[in-house]
């Protein structure tokens, strides 16, 4: 196996940065912020370097690096990236940099601690995406809870304690059941090949051989844990609390990357490890996903708090992603992956914009606004473009993902029922309703509140951050091939192997 250190550097750059940060004096907040942004920028460039070395035409893990870790159980510190990992790594490093930059004004207290936890969180997220060893994946998956818990708990809103504990326990309950399933899987692998293994490539060969009666339970243990993270209806109840209470930076990372860890887990583990069960449960899970799309949209429609509205829109968007994943066609899975990126960009931008106006007026109530278009024209324009991208307007990114998912699900041999697509498509209309309605109430109409006349338009920093996101929003909308081709080979491999195991012809 060819060894390459670039992913290791990418993974540990934020950790080293976080350790160095501890030596900076607490009072020099500007220095600390700049340092945090610098470290995350270096990490971003390292991930770009990794991308440049990455060969998108190959489906298997590349840029691998392996050290034997717990030798008795043959567990190794094994990292690598295939297309799916690569695009998630790029998304993570990009969004972390922007988030740290956004929080320049949003986070006023304990700046040093905040930057420290953000960098540690970045290590955890990157680790989840590059682990080739199932045990290592689990370690990162769980460890990442700790920094996120502090970010919500220390810098969050009024009910931050409730939200942070709910987030922590909810996620941990799911993942501990996954731990038992992981151990069980290792033991099965041992009995099967008489050797301990936790390498996913080996487990991919063993998983489909597990008798269906048992495989079903393992699949559920893994999938429920991921479904909580996604969050799939009805496991979504922690999300609105966490989103609303988290600071802007926390919301962006939560929506942009953390939720993707759940869908990533479904693609990386649930389906290829347990294809028969995935096939068996696909209609049920797709039904939940479609319910999530409709439910999320309907609940978003009646929200009075802008952040909560965006939070519920996440439930709907992620419903699309899950539908695409379980439809198991090349189009739908590619669409789901690009939709994961889209959601990170669009919802991240929405949270940044909502956060920006909240910093000025200290309210997120939709009713408190109205008629701000002439007062803050640039802000209103940005909000419009971002909302339209979230709705799925052709020419912007959201359309590409949703369209691919819908056609994939329509002709999916696994779901074998076009009703899923039909109902899900109505979710697109609902999305237009709740977002445009919010936009109308906030931006147009008479000025309700005289205080709003003093509202200042976006600063150069805010403009640059959102503009950077918009570059990609338009790029994906116009020419998605740049990003789609990263994942093309690994998606094709996943579909081919899964459908071959299921002996479904496609």
């Amino acid at each position: 196996m060819e060894q390459n250190l670039i992913l290791l550097y990418t993974l540990f750059a934020p950790l080293v940065g976080a350790m160095l940060l501890l030596f900076l004096p607490k009072e020099k907040e500007g220095l600390i912020r700049a340092f945090g942004i610098g470290v995350s920028l270096i990490t971003f460039f390292l991930s770009l370097a990794a991308w440049s070395m990455f060969d998108a035409s190959k489906a298997e893990f590349q840029l691998q690096q392996q050290f034997l870790w717990l030798s008795r159980y043959n567990i190794s510190f094994h990292i690598g990236a295939d297309g799916l990992s690569m695009i998630m790594v790029l998304l993570t490093t990009f969004l972390t940099t922007l988030t740290l930059w956004t929080s320049w004004s949003g986070i006023a207290k304990k700046v040093k601690e905040f930057t420290f936890f953000m960098l540690i969180l970045e290590v955890g997220m990157l680790g989840v995406f590059v682990s080739v060893d199932l045990f290592l994946f689990y370690v990162f998956w769980e460890a990442m809870l700790i920094p996120m818990y502090f970010i919500i708990g220390i810098w969050g809103g009024e009910q931050r304690i409730y939200a942070s504990i709910k987030f922590f326990i909810y996620t941990m309950a799911g993942s501990l059941l996954m731990l038992v399933a992981i151990i069980w899987l290792f033991m099965y692998a041992y009995n099967d090949v008489h050797m301990y293994t936790s390498n996913i490539n080996d487990l991919y060969k063993i998983g489909p051989k597990i008798p269906f009666e048992i495989q079903k339970w393992l699949f559920l243990a893994f999938t429920i844990s991921f479904a909580i993270k996604v969050p799939l209806f009805p496991f979504h109840t922690w999300l609105p609390d966490a989103h609303v209470q988290a600071p802007t930076a926390g919301s962006v990372i939560l929506a942009g990357v953390l939720l993707k860890m759940g869908t990533y887990g479904l693609l990386r583990f649930s389906i290829p490890l347990f294809p028969q069960s995935a096939h068996y449960f696909a209609p049920a899970i797709s039904t939940l996903a479609v319910i999530g799309i409709i439910y999320g949209a309907l609940v978003a429609m009646v929200q009075t708090d802008m952040k909560k509205l965006v939070a519920y829109s996440s439930v709907a968007h992620l419903g699309f992603v899950v539908l695409g994943i379980f439809a198991l066609t090349p189009e739908s899975v590619q669409g789901a992956i690009i939709q994961m990126v889209n959601h990170g960009l669009s919802t991240g931008a929405l949270f940044i914009l909502v956060g920006a106006i909240y910093e000025r007026t200290h309210t997120r109530e939709i009713d408190a606004y109205g008629g701000i278009a002439p007062i803050v024209p640039v802000y209103s324009t940005l909000l419009l473009i971002v909302s339209l991208s979230s709705i799925g307007l052709p020419g912007l990114n959201g359309f590409i993902g949703e369209f691919l998912i819908l056609i994939g699900a329509f002709k999916s041999p696994v779901l074998n029922n076009w009703m899923f697509s039909i109902v899900a498509a109505s979710g697109v209309i609902f999305a237009a309703v709740y977002l445009l309605w919010m936009y109308q109430r906030v931006v147009f109409g008479p000025v309700k509140n005289e205080g709003l006349r003093a509202l200042k338009d976006v600063t150069a920093r805010e403009f640059t951050i959102v503009a950077l996101l918009l570059v990609f929003i338009v790029w994906i909308g116009v020419y998605p091939a740049t990003f789609m081709k990263i994942t093309e080979a690994s998606t094709a491999k996943l579909i081919k192997e899964t459908l071959t195991t299921l002996s479904i012809r496609y």
Partner: protein, 483 residues
């Protein structure tokens, strides 16, 4: 005539034994306020800890096979001596703070360590018993060391009564064991395990013996003494009891059960007849400890219940009765000792003279009063909750693996359920420390020696968390050396 190699083999025991005598003389000669006894005992303990680490891979028996100095023994020597040395560091200022600065404290501590080391080394039931009594009697006194404090007295009396009761079980069990086998030697049991296994008197004796020691490791339903004693005893004593005391309880159980441990892992045979008993205790301890800890308002009491739950997790590994299980328990014991020592050490630093700062609410806003201690405590609590990447997680992982390996997946599932429950009460302290503002804004004054103790534990713990494979490898190797 005692052979020279026996004396050399038992050197750690002799060093501690000799140190007790010297400490007694020092205590007589010097002024009682001087800390010379503390320094002396601390150095003796550290030296012994170092000695046992140096001889980690030795093997052999001494004194007519009554004690063993093989790998596992040396590891246990190291744990108890290290724990005691750290407790000495915590105590130097703490016992002044609670106005019980008597040199006897360190002498009793050393004597308890000697008892623990005897238990760890014993391969003969009589030695186990001598060690147990030596340890327990010192603990009874230490628990009541604040003799003018009513809670401390209550704790000592409770511990004494229930402890004697447990000792009764052990002695009765030993009598039956002797009656059934005409020997006290554990290697003899090992040699004749096939015939003894079908002897009901032997089994009854074993059961009574094991029950006696489940008192010491604080497993439900033999846990009644734990909350009151842990709460009433001086905090540094609690730190010692909850770690080294539990380690020696497990040492005795592992030693005694070793004849029944299946050497060819993953076979199901009649060797597993202790499994249901130990598994039941484990389930009860995990769930009871985790659930009752939820409603505690005193931090020492909460940690007492948490230690009951941890006894449950370790019993998972023991009830698997396999090599992997025992190795998992040993790994867990080391990790648990470090986490709990750290947590109790920090509590003993924070505790004020009039027993304030023991309520959970008192931890509100600690992160601004003492950022360093709050950060350390947060790490220890996350580790106790079993979150990766800390060593507590690896300990749990190893015992869960041993359970699944031996066909007890349900036990691992109960284990994770109780882990989820227990996350809540560990998090509660972290919430208060970091997310709440406290009324008390006084900066904590931290004595240097105690801080050093916490720091040493923290460094050890971080190393163990970062390189679990090293510790796991050592434990695996010395496990093979034993017997």
């Amino acid at each position: 005539m005692i052979p020279v190699q026996d004396l050399f083999a038992s050197a750690p025991l002799l060093i501690i034994g000799g140190s007790i005598l010297i400490a007694l003389i020092l205590e007589m000669v010097f002024d009682s306020q001087s800390s010379i006894v503390a320094w002396f005992s601390g150095s003796a303990l550290l030296f012994t800890a170092y000695w046992s680490l140096y001889h980690l891979y030795d093997r052999g028996f001494a004194f007519n096979n009554m004690i063993s100095i093989s790998g596992r023994t040396q590891l246990l020597f190291f744990i108890v001596n290290f724990a005691a040395a750290v407790v000495v560091m915590f105590s130097m200022d703490y016992i002044k703070k609670i106005q019980t600065n008597y040199g006897e404290f360190y002498i009793l501590l050393l004597s308890a360590v000697l008892g623990m080391m005897l238990i760890a080394a014993a391969r003969d039931m009589v030695i186990v018993f001598i060690g147990l009594e030596q340890m327990s009697i010192c603990f009874y006194v230490l628990a009541g060391f604040r003799r003018k404090n009513i809670k401390s007295n209550e704790s000592a009396i409770k511990y004494f009564l229930l402890g004697s009761f447990a000792t009764g079980f052990i002695v009765y069990g030993m009598a039956l064991l002797y009656g059934a086998s005409q020997t006290f030697s554990i290697p003899e049991y090992l040699a004749h395990v096939e015939t003894l296994k079908s002897n009901p008197i032997f089994l009854l004796g074993s059961l009574l013996f094991v029950i006696g020691f489940t008192f010491k490791i604080a497993a439900v339903p033999f846990h009644m003494w734990v909350p009151d004693v842990y709460q009433g005893a001086p905090t540094n004593v609690t730190a010692f009891m909850s770690t080294a005391g539990k380690v020696s309880g497990f040492a005795a159980l592992i030693t005694f059960l070793s004849p029944f441990i299946d050497y060819s892992a993953r076979t199901t045979g009649s060797a597993k007849f202790f499994m249901p008993f130990l598994a039941t205790l484990s389930v009860l301890s995990m769930l009871y400890g985790a659930i009752v800890a939820l409603s505690q308002s005193d931090v020492k009491r909460m940690l007492a219940y948490s230690s009951i739950a941890h006894a449950g997790y370790m019993l998972i590994g023991l009830s698997a009765l396999s090599y992997e299980g025992v190795d998992g328990v040993l790994f867990y014991l080391v990790a648990y000792t470090l986490m709990n020592l750290g947590a109790f050490g920090i509590i003993s630093i924070l505790e004020t003279q009039d027993e304030k700062m023991l309520k959970i609410e008192d931890f509100a806003g600690l992160s601004s009063r003492s950022p360093l201690l709050a950060a350390f405590l947060a790490v220890f609590l996350f580790a106790l909750a079993g979150l990766p990447p800390f060593a507590g997680f690896f300990g749990k992982y190893f015992v869960f693996v041993s359970a699944v390996e031996n066909g007890m997946t349900w036990l691992a599932i109960v284990g994770v359920i109780s882990s989820v429950i227990s996350v809540y009460f560990y998090l509660r302290i972290i919430v208060l420390m970091y997310f709440s503002k406290g009324e008390n804004t006084e900066v904590v004054s931290v004595p240097k020696s105690a801080l050093l103790g916490v720091f040493v534990v923290f460094i050890m713990f971080v190393i163990m968390s970062a390189f679990p494979q090293k510790f796991e490898g050592i434990i695996h190797t010395i496990g093979l050396l034993t017997y």
